[in-house]
C-alpha cells in the first residue's frame, strides 16, 4: 500500500514535469529575428510600444511557465491589495466568490433539506412536486440570470440567487432519496419504542440518510463552484470570475492562467472537505 502511494506520487510528478516541459517548449522564443527599419521603430515608439519588445516578436504570445511562476509569486506576495474597482488582489476576489457561493449554498441547504425530508416521507408530496423538479432541474442556472437581475435588481444578489438555484437540486433530490430509502426496520424500531416524530426525524432518519444527503451536498458544492465563475463573468464587479474576465480584457493571459490554477485548487479543497464530512457520517450496515 505504502509503495503504491510512493509509486503513484512519483508518476504524478513525472507527468507534471512532462506537461510543464511540453508547455515550456511550445512557448519558447524562436531565434528568428525580424528586422525592423528605423521608420518602423519610430512608429512603434509613437504608438507607445517598446521597439525592443518588437525585437522579440519571435516569442510566442502565450505565457511561459516562468511567466506564470513570476505572476504567482507577485500575486501571492500581496493577495489583499485594493487599487480600485478593476485592480484587486486575488485574495479579495476569492473572498467575494466564496461569500457568494456560501450564501447561495446555505440558502439552498435551508430549503432543500427540509423540503427533501417532506418529499422523502410523503409519496403524495413526492408525486406532486416531481414534475416541477424534473422541469426546473435541467435549466442552466445562467438562464435565470436575466430574471434574477430584473426582479432582484442587484447584481451581487443575482449571483447569489444563481448559486442557490443550481445547488438546490442535487441536495433536494438526494435528501428525498436518502429519506425515502431509510430501512423499514429502523423505522419500526422507532415505532415500537414510541419515539416522537421530531426525535425520529433527528435521531433515526437524519443519521440514516446522512451519507446520501452529504453526497448531494458535495455534488451541489461542486456545481456551485463551477457556476460562480460563469455568473461573475456575466455580472462583473468582483469575484474570481470577474477577475478572469477582466484579465482577458487586459490581455494578461498569465493572470488568467493564474486564476484558473487558483479556481482549481480552491475547488479541490472544497471537495476534499466535503469528502471528509462524508466519511464522518458514513456507517457500515
Amino acid at each position: 500500500m505504502g509503495s503504491l502511494r510512493l509509486k503513484s506520487a512519483i508518476l504524478s510528478l513525472l507527468i507534471a514535469f512532462l506537461l510543464v516541459g511540453a508547455w515550456a517548449l511550445a512557448t519558447q522564443a524562436t531565434s528568428t529575428k525580424v528586422a525592423i527599419s528605423a521608420e518602423q521603430a519610430e512608429y512603434a515608439k509613437l504608438m507607445g510600444k517598446d521597439p525592443e519588445a518588437a525585437e522579440q516578436a519571435g516569442k510566442s504570445g502565450f505565457p511561459t511557465p516562468a511567466d506564470l511562476g513570476r505572476t504567482v509569486v507577485r500575486q501571492l506576495a500581496h493577495p489583499f491589495y485594493d487599487n480600485g474597482p478593476n485592480d484587486k488582489g486575488i485574495g479579495i476576489q476569492l473572498g467575494y466568490s466564496l461569500a457568494r457561493v456560501g450564501l447561495g449554498y446555505l440558502a439552498a441547504l435551508l430549503i432543500a433539506i427540509p423540503l427533501g425530508f417532506l418529499i422523502g416521507m410523503s409519496p403524495l408530496v413526492h408525486r406532486a412536486l416531481d414534475p416541477f423538479i424534473q422541469v426546473l432541474k435541467p435549466i442552466s442556472p445562467l438562464a435565470w440570470m436575466p430574471i434574477a437581475l430584473y426582479t432582484i435588481k442587484d447584481s451581487s444578489a443575482s449571483g447569489i440567487f444563481v448559486i442557490f438555484i443550481c445547488s438546490v437540486w442535487p441536495m433536494l433530490i438526494n435528501t428525498a432519496f436518502g429519506v425515502a430509502s431509510v430501512r423499514r426496520e429502523w423505522l419500526d424500531v422507532a415505532r415500537t419504542l414510541e419515539v416522537p416524530a421530531l426525535r425520529r426525524a433527528f435521531e433515526v432518519i437524519l443519521p440514516a440518510a446522512a451519507p446520501t444527503i452529504l453526497t448531494g451536498m458535495r455534488i451541489s458544492m461542486g456545481i456551485a463552484w463551477l457556476v460562480i465563475v460563469a455568473a461573475e463573468m456575466l455580472v462583473g464587479g468582483t469575484g474570481i470570475g470577474y477577475f478572469v474576465w477582466n484579465e482577458w480584457n487586459n490581455l494578461s493571459l498569465t493572470n488568467v492562467l493564474f486564476a484558473i490554477l487558483v479556481i482549481g485548487l480552491v475547488g479541490m479543497a472544497l471537495d476534499l472537505s466535503f469528502a471528509r464530512l462524508q466519511r464522518a457520517v458514513t456507517y457500515v450496515g
Binding site: 429502523w186 456507517y283 450496515g285
Partner: protein
C-alpha cells in the same frame, strides 16, 4: 402450565384474527385464536407463508389485521407500544450507534425524564445481562451475528416491557451460537419472569424455551390448529432435554404435525378453536396421541 388454571384474564388474547391482502382470493390466516398468560413463554411454529410474521407484526402494532381482535391487558392493540418489546428477525440495530447508543436510544424512549447516569446504569445492567460488557462501545458492524442479536435482545429487555415479541430471533445464527443464546435467553427469562411470544421454526428451540407451543396450519387461511403443552420439567436444559422420556413424544408430535398434518389443514380446514394437547403425558402405547384433552374457548 396452562392459562386455564389462571383466574386472571390473559395478558394477551387473540380473538378471531384474520389477515387478507388486497386482491388475494383467500386470507393468509383466518380466525386465529390463542392467548398468552402473564409470565408464560409461548412459541409459534408453522411453515413459511402461514403468516407468522404478520401475526407478530399485528401483536406489535406495526401492522393491522383485516378482522378479529387483539386484546393486551384487556385493551385493543391499535399501535406499537413500549409495553410490548420487539426483537426483530434481522436484529435491526442502528448501525451508526454503538451498542451503548442503541440500548440508550431505547431506554431514553421508555423513560424520557431520566438523567444520563440513570440511563447509563440501565444500559450497562442489560449489556452485562447478555454478557457484552466488553463490547459496549463497539459499533454493530464490529460485532458477530450472535453478538448483534444479543444486543437486540438486551435492547428489548432494557425497556422492561410487559411482553416480549420475538420474530425468529436466532434464524440467521449458526447452530453453536444459537444454542448458547438460547441458554442465555432461558436464563434471563427465568430471572425476570418475562412474558414472551416467539416465532420459530426450530422444534428443539420451542421445546427448550416454550411453556406452550402453538402449531399453525399452512396458508392460505392458516389457523392455530393445536396448542401443545410442554410438560417437560421447568428446569430442563439443552443438554439434558433429549434424555427425558417425554422428549420424543412431544418432539414426534410436533414434527408429525408439521410434516404430515399442517398442509392438509390449509384453506381453513383446521378447527377454528385450537385443540390443546399434552403429548408428553400420553403413554407410548396409546394409539392416538393427539386426542384432544380439552377444547378451549375464549
Amino acid at each position: 402450565m396452562s392459562a386455564d388454571d389462571v383466574v386472571m384474564p390473559p395478558l394477551l388474547a387473540v380473538q378471531g384474527l384474520t389477515k387478507r391482502f388486497d386482491g388475494a382470493p383467500e386470507a393468509v390466516f383466518e380466525d386465529v385464536w390463542f392467548d398468552v398468560a402473564k409470565g408464560e413463554f409461548v412459541c409459534l411454529i408453522g411453515h413459511s407463508g402461514c403468516g407468522k410474521t404478520s401475526i407478530l407484526n399485528v401483536l406489535a402494532g406495526l401492522d393491522s389485521a383485516s378482522g378479529g381482535h387483539v386484546l393486551f391487558d384487556a385493551r385493543e392493540i391499535a399501535a406499537p407500544g413500549l409495553e410490548r418489546g420487539v426483537v426483530f428477525q434481522g436484529h435491526a440495530l442502528l448501525p451508526w450507534l454503538s451498542v451503548r447508543g442503541n440500548i440508550a436510544f431505547a431506554v431514553r424512549s421508555r423513560w424520557p425524564g431520566w438523567k444520563r447516569a440513570e440511563v447509563d446504569a440501565q444500559v450497562e445492567k442489560y449489556v452485562a445481562l447478555v454478557g457484552l460488557s466488553g463490547a459496549i462501545d463497539r459499533k454493530p458492524s464490529e460485532l458477530s451475528g450472535g453478538m448483534k442479536q444479543r444486543v437486540g435482545i438486551a435492547r428489548a429487555f432494557a425497556i422492561e416491557p410487559k411482553m416480549l415479541l420475538m420474530d425468529e430471533p436466532f434464524g440467521a445464527l449458526d447452530a453453536l451460537t444459537r444454542g448458547t443464546i438460547q441458554d442465555e435467553l432461558k436464563r434471563i427469562v427465568r430471572e425476570t419472569h418475562q412474558t414472551v411470544f416467539m416465532i420459530t421454526h426450530d422444534v428443539d428451540e420451542a421445546m427448550l424455551l416454550a411453556d406452550r407451543v402453538l402449531l399453525m396450519s399452512n396458508g392460505p387461511r392458516a389457523r392455530v390448529a393445536e396448542i401443545v403443552v410442554n410438560s417437560l420439567p421447568v428446569d430442563r436444559t439443552r443438554h439434558g432435554l433429549h434424555h427425558d422420556p417425554q422428549y420424543y413424544r412431544i418432539r414426534n408430535h410436533l414434527v408429525d404435525f408439521l410434516v404430515e398434518k399442517s398442509a392438509g389443514l390449509a384453506h381453513g380446514k383446521a378447527p377454528s378453536r385450537p385443540l390443546v394437547v399434552t403429548p408428553g403425558l400420553v403413554p407410548d402405547d396409546a394409539t392416538d396421541s393427539v386426542a384432544p384433552l380439552a377444547r378451549r374457548s375464549a
